[in-house]
Symmetry: C2
Subunit: 405 residues, 2 copies
């Protein structure tokens, strides 16, 4: 990680001071798989969230938005297995009920509970099972519960996604922890992914919102597994202030460092999600530079990363750079076709928009790696962006052909 | 087909009077596969074309655009195997050379030749092989050559795509014939697909352009195999006037009927392409109605048809309507989440944006068919659109993992 004074530490959401968590198997899902998680702060925390752009925003997101109107939360409750989306009024009632049950069990205010769900759309939540799970989770909250929580939010994820870092701000040690889920239906503007970040830093509410939004734009909104943006997803950041650092404000002394740390945390989680894309065998990183605007750089990087044809070629280890050019050409970014350079790793494949004869063996070696970098220089301006995705394999189709059944 | 007085006849591009064609195996591709086609009109014809929107427009398209500046053409030359895209000045020289060789062999003007290529990007055309092929094809031009031509333009296509119809306009029998290729990299605004339509109707040049553009928007621009828009694709329509019908003009007496016939021809070819999508086992038709604008209807239909998750679910015969809603929700179309009805075939799955319990067995039967209809009613306005695509199977990945090698 590139942030000065920052070091990785073990753990996840319970790494910062004052956070407890639990993950239990309530019985929403099969075979004793954990499916209900709670993350709890001993004191009310400043809290910001970013939500899906999908018009069919699921009920838990709407309830969370209401609860975060005052920028304060003390707990997050999450279930996997059922998304509680497209369920009309019943869905809203269930999401509110989840917050109420959690608040009662933790003896906090209902409006201080963040609610999240992930799983199948259009199926009712089994509220008795959920209630049992929430009560059980509330009883076993612990500093050691972070990993259980990260497991309880997984759906088709193959690996749990946790990360934590520490840095010093104004003589105080500040810790940031996080967990995420996401594997399919992953595309910008919040795909089926959930991210929960906790920190003991003291941060002003508006500042927390700004930092989270920018970090999400650089990270979760720059990954693509399959181009689908889900109804349910959000990223939440809770800051409880227990580190007793000078309060971080926009433009203040510690703003840059703290924002950079949150940015790194989000990129780390986003890459974990891309790498764990359904059926993925390789992580693809697309680097675009020389763009006229930041938006152009992002559009270009995402179009390449999202192309089924590019993804299939990477899976097949086939150096088919024409597909990279093709995706760039329909990305919507300002492109001069006679200026573009395309690299596979550090191997130049096309210069000024024209194909070169290249070392097939070297290209083959680059494509055999677990992480493949595709770089494009538009040579028009000074903006750059990175995006992350994964290859498209037989297993993606297999997983998604019978997700519901 | 829904056009009055119109009947299907056998044949393709040579069905109309005065058209000859040929398809030969020049040796660009392996195993004696036909790879060079010529379509020739005995007299110069009015000609219109629609081109890819990809910024990296391939050289043959640029040359064709120049040649059609006067709205006249007499022959089309097409090669498969190599796309002649991203080859800089050499690519332009090769495309011009293809037109020159064809013009010389047919003793017509170079500017009256339409040039098209399809295949691998970034590889030079073997001009000696192409020249040999063009000369050979020119020698064997025949009314019987339409099918050979339709085979010569195929790449990963499994079936040749030909169609012809007849209708009476002003007491004269008018014939329209067509062929197309396309199987992967298929998405709106001209994907890797080529369409060549011939007719002996007499049509004013500007009118021909307008009719073609509208028909393409309803057909080729409403199919999606994988969301990729290629560098090479175009649809060309030649009208040589030999049917001696009263000249068709915009708003004239026969405009509506003729435009409807071209529209039907284009939709028929577009559906053939969607059905032959790489690895496809099923044709998907998405019908959107009740949209506020035509653009909204098209956006919504295409988003659903293009979703990897919808496509995988159809392949797996899994009635996962949540994915239909999800795609609709990020389509960019104006949608009221509390109004949308979703049907699988004639089975209502969600009403007013809320899931219903439905007959799983009936849903299973609908999904077992070779053609699956997904219908969405937005209940906001009066516009509707249809789009066509195919399911996403293991074989799509297999075909595209090693296309180049």
């Amino acid at each position: 990680m590139g942030v000065k004074n920052m070091k990785n530490i073990s753990g996840g959401v319970t790494a910062p001071q004052g956070f407890l968590a639990a993950g239990v198997a309530a019985g929403i899902r099969k075979k004793g798989k954990k499916d209900v998680a709670i993350v709890y702060s001993k004191v009310p925390a400043t809290c910001a969230a970013v939500y899906t752009t999908n018009i069919f925003k699921a009920a838990p997101l709407k309830v969370t938005e209401e609860h975060l109107a005052d920028g304060i939360a003390q707990a997050m409750v999450i279930n996997s297995g059922i998304a509680n989306a497209c369920m009309g009024k019943d869905g809203m009632d269930s999401a509110k009920k989840m917050a109420e049950i959690t608040a009662k069990a933790l003896q906090i205010k209902t409006e201080d509970v963040v609610v999240a769900s992930t799983g199948l759309i259009g199926v009712p939540l089994p509220m008795e099972t959920i209630e049992k799970g929430i009560k059980e989770a509330a009883k076993v909250l612990a500093v050691e519960g972070g990993t259980d929580a990260s497991e309880a939010i997984m759906t088709t994820d193959l690996v749990k996604k946790e990360v934590a870092v520490q840095l010093e701000l104004g003589g105080k040690v500040v810790t940031i922890g996080a967990m995420a889920k996401g594997s399919g239906m992953i595309h910008p503007n919040m795909a089926t992914m959930l991210g929960f970040i906790t920190t003991d830093a003291a941060v002003e509410a508006g500042c927390l919102k700004k930092i989270l939004k920018e970090a999400v734009n650089n990270s979760f909104n720059m990954i693509s597994v399959d181009g689908d943006t889900s109804t349910n997803d959000m990223v939440v950041l809770m800051a409880n202030g227990l580190a007793q650092n000078p309060v971080i404000t926009v433009g203040g002394e510690y703003y840059g460092e703290f924002a950079a740390a949150i940015n790194e945390i989000c990129i780390t989680l986003a890459k974990m999600i891309a790498k764990d894309g359904e059926g993925a065998t390789k992580l693809i990183e697309v680097q675009v530079k020389g763009a006229l605007t930041l938006e152009d750089a992002r559009k270009a990087a995402l179009a390449i990363c999202s192309s089924n044809l590019v993804k299939s070629a990477v899976f097949g280890e086939d150096a088919n750079w024409g597909r990279i050019i093709t995706a760039l050409g329909y990305s919507g970014a300002e492109v001069d076709p006679d200026k573009v350079d395309v690299y596979l790793g550090d191997l130049l494949m096309a210069k000024n928009g024209t194909g070169l004869s290249f070392d097939e063996e070297k290209a083959g070696r680059i494509l055999k790696e677990k992480e493949v970098v595709i770089a494009v220089d538009l040579k028009l301006g000074n903006f750059e962006a990175k995006s992350w995705g994964c290859d498209l394999s037989y297993d993606y189709v297999k997983i998604n052909a019978a997700y519901r059944t």
